[in-house]
């Protein structure tokens, strides 16, 4: 479902493809207005299932996908994450935290001049790999980095 949603955004400028999809029954008309929340992907309890949920399968490592995270988080409640894709024709970026109860944190589709870049702030329950996944020309790419979540304050 998510794959089709992405196609929709990407082809928002190419009306004919869209009309074709609707005609072919691949899309319900409501999906054109607002994609349904990808419950399967967000509810997945491990990274592999979450990746499957967004249609990414096993993404390829890419040096052109830049993931900026702090090495150490002073607190896991807010971990700043920046993702920049230098992969041509990137249309979407997703962010995952391997060890969170639900690894998929967020997924963004870009169109109409939006650069394939996003910054967000995530919760992390513990030290974990953070992954960025980008989609470009139908292929999925990934980059990952570890963020150490520390115990802070007086602990009382």
């Amino acid at each position: 479902m998510n794959t089709t949603r992405r196609t929709v955004l990407k082809s928002a400028t190419a009306g004919s493809v869209l009309a074709g999809l609707i005609a072919a029954g691949a899309l319900r008309p409501t999906q054109v207005l607002a994609a349904e929340w990808n419950k399967a992907a967000f509810d997945a309890h491990d990274t592999a299932s979450a990746l499957k949920g967004i249609g990414a399968g096993t993404p390829m490592d890419s040096k052109d996908l830049i993931l900026k995270v702090p090495d150490i988080a002073e607190n896991g409640a807010v971990v700043p994450v920046d993702v920049i894709s230098n992969i041509p024709n990137t249309t979407s970026i997703s962010i995952l935290v391997d060890k969170n109860p639900s690894p998929l944190s967020a997924s963004f589709d870009f169109a109409n001049g939006a650069l394939p870049e996003v910054s967000a702030r995530l919760k992390m329950g513990q030290t974990s790999m953070v992954k960025a996944v980008a989609k470009a020309d139908g292929k999925f790419y990934t980059a990952q980095k570890e963020v150490k979540v520390t115990v802070g304050g007086c602990g009382g």
């Binding site: 920046d82 589709d109 109409n112 939006a114």
Partner: protein, 103 residues
């Protein structure tokens, strides 16, 4: 009612840098209150950003986005004065739309 969003859209060259701050609990559904009762999940699920009448970003988010979320995007080809409209919808159906102009 949810707090109004804080939207900043600043033009650098022909790229608008958009920063959005949303007031939301982003409750995971895994926390317990003082009485030990589980607090039900309450979180933003989707957001959209429009610039100059065109949808530029469509996002879906889960419970692991921090409380009072902050997002940053960049949009090429924007002009000063372009209207930036940001909307979000949460899992309870609450929603909010706010706007600002590219400066």
């Amino acid at each position: 009612m949810a707090d109004p969003m804080k939207i900043r859209a600043q033009l650098k060259g022909d790229v608008a840098e958009i920063r959005v701050l949303m007031g939301h609990a982003m409750e995971t559904g895994q926390r317990k209150d003082a009485a030990g009762k589980t607090i039900p999940p309450h979180f933003i699920q989707s957001l959209t950003v429009e610039v100059g009448g065109k949808k530029v970003v469509e996002g879906q988010v889960g419970t692991s986005v921090s409380r009072n979320p902050v997002f940053g995007f960049k949009v090429k080809g924007a002009k000063a004065g372009d209207k930036v409209v940001v909307s979000w919808v949460d899992n309870k159906g609450d929603k909010r739309t706010d706007e600002a102009a590219v400066a």
